[in-house]
Symmetry: C2
Subunit: 211 residues, 2 copies
Amino acid sequence: MATEISGTRRPGGRTERTRLAALNATLELLGERGYAELTVEAVAERSGVHKTTLYRRWESAEGLVAAALLMGTEQEWTAPDTGSLEGDLRGINLELVHYFTSPGERELPTASISAAFLSDRAADALREFYVDRHARSAAVVDRAVERGEVPPGTDAVEVVRVACGPVFYRLFVSREGVTPEDADLAAKAAAAAAKAGVFTAGSAGTAVPPA
Amino acid sequence: MATEISGTRRPGGRTERTRLAALNATLELLGERGYAELTVEAVAERSGVHKTTLYRRWESAEGLVAAALLMGTEQEWTAPDTGSLEGDLRGINLELVHYFTSPGERELPTASISAAFLSDRAADALREFYVDRHARSAAVVDRAVERGEVPPGTDAVEVVRVACGPVFYRLFVSREGVTPEDADLAAKAAAAAAKAGVFTAGSAGTAVPPA
């Protein structure tokens, strides 16, 4: 999920400074008010970037939100490397629990998930963010294959989806809330299913990987 | 998730007919416009129930939505009974995929999930709906324990959360969309983890249930 970033990978000229000011202000306001209440005027006021510039470059509040959500792909996040698949998945899930439940922190990622219900462009940006996050998370499964913990051919992204799915389900579907223990159990379940060979192409949940 | 119901378990006097008219109109409008655009006035117009009655009984649009979402607990839903845990979980997941992806059907359940981001009372109603749905779904795990498919003491609701979590994750978090094949794989993963003993209290993902 997008979080405010102060640096950027591109060299920072005036255009880049304007971009960061506008998009960081958008993220702040998204977390504070939610998508429905976010206006270009408010972003102009918060960022000090002129309204005309905002409209020219991002068209609308929706365009600002979509661009701001994509900033998440510029973050330098890497998946945990604990030495075991279960440990790595637990690490990913505990980060999620922290990020989505801590007061003062959960507001922005929650508003991002919510915005995608109201805006197709926000939904597209969120999808792109998760494509990037999935690709980075796949490392935990690749390492597990190398260690012989799970069969070769294990679908890494699917393992990640099964690990974190129950965390998001509790948060945003069944609305039960989620604890670190819940996140831990979901990680265990995904690791156990991966070890049983469920995520290898053509497997039918057997422990034997395809030849 | 709440769907329109034409019957009720309570005998239908005038008060009950008014209730059904108001709450079914609320569900229709929720699916058509979403929570943010739903007004008591529109419910009055759609249902033929006088605005004063709606305000007296449900206070606000939020109160109407919360009550309408709880109607889902009045539905006569039972979990599939296919003879295997994996088959039952697949059945549950395929129902979800159908319900949340079919045009003309997905609008209401999607708006219900979305409403919970904007209203605490909608979130409470959604939680209550899922408590009921979890309790009914637990039968698939109870039967699997009886058949000896999974260890005694398996946490039935957790199995269900792990099975359907990835479906909702794809729909509303990573925004990738979901296919019946995806739903099938998530069901397989949950069943495999359950068989490995992950969901028995005190287990650490071993295949041996506690004595």
